[in-house]
């Protein structure tokens, strides 16, 4: 079964530091996403990415966040200057087609702790 791979699984960082979360989507998938889940809360959409550009972003995805696909396989989420409230599980997801018939495949997540 193809998987979405995320690294690292855990990241602890000092407030104000930059972090890069990495994802390798499924190889034939064309649509990529980042979601966030603060402890005890719902899974929230951050951003979608297609054809090397952002398709849609939520109100959470402010100027301190950025995404890129630096090569043909990796998809990264950068948080420029982390805040305590950025502590959460971050999930990458990919999808083969942008169609209501297609499901999302999620990675196992990166647990980010900002101290």
């Amino acid at each position: 079964e193809p998987e979405v791979t995320q690294t690292p699984s855990h990241q602890v960082t000092q407030m104000g530091q930059e972090v890069i979360l990495r994802c390798v989507p499924i190889s034939n998938h064309l649509y990529f996403y980042w979601y966030r889940q603060i402890l005890g809360q719902k899974v929230e959409f951050l951003v979608s990415f297609y054809n090397n550009e952002i398709s849609e972003k939520s109100e959470i995805f402010d100027d301190q966040f950025s995404v890129e696909r630096p090569d043909g396989s990796n998809f990264t989420l950068k948080i420029r200057s982390t805040k305590l409230e950025d502590s959460a599980m971050y999930f990458c997801a990919s999808r083969e087609r942008d169609s209501r018939l297609y499901g999302y495949t999620f990675g196992s997540g990166t647990r980010l702790t900002v101290v």
Binding site: Y33, V43, F45, R100, G103, F106, S108, G109
Partner: protein, 108 residues
Amino acid sequence: TQLLEQSPQFLSIQEGENLTVYCNSSSVFSSLQWYRQEPGEGPVLLVTVVTGGEVKKLKRLTFQFGDARKDSSLHITAAQPGDTGLYLCGTSGSRLTFGEGTQLTVNP
């Protein structure tokens, strides 16, 4: 953004019991997906329903999509401890939006 309400929020049952969880919206779903999330893991897709009145079965799990496509239910027969997890419904428009989920605990 379409708002999804899931109920109950928490459910704790004994092994072998049956259960039903619900997902509702005030507006029509173009499609609905059910996911299960285990602690420390990402959501895993269980099923996609798109047609009003549709029923899909996945072993002991039965998914139903309401005729008006505003609600859906997930019924589990003879629940097992391995069914424990957070059950999420999600609607996929331009983005996948989740409900709060139902946290199911099946006790041996």
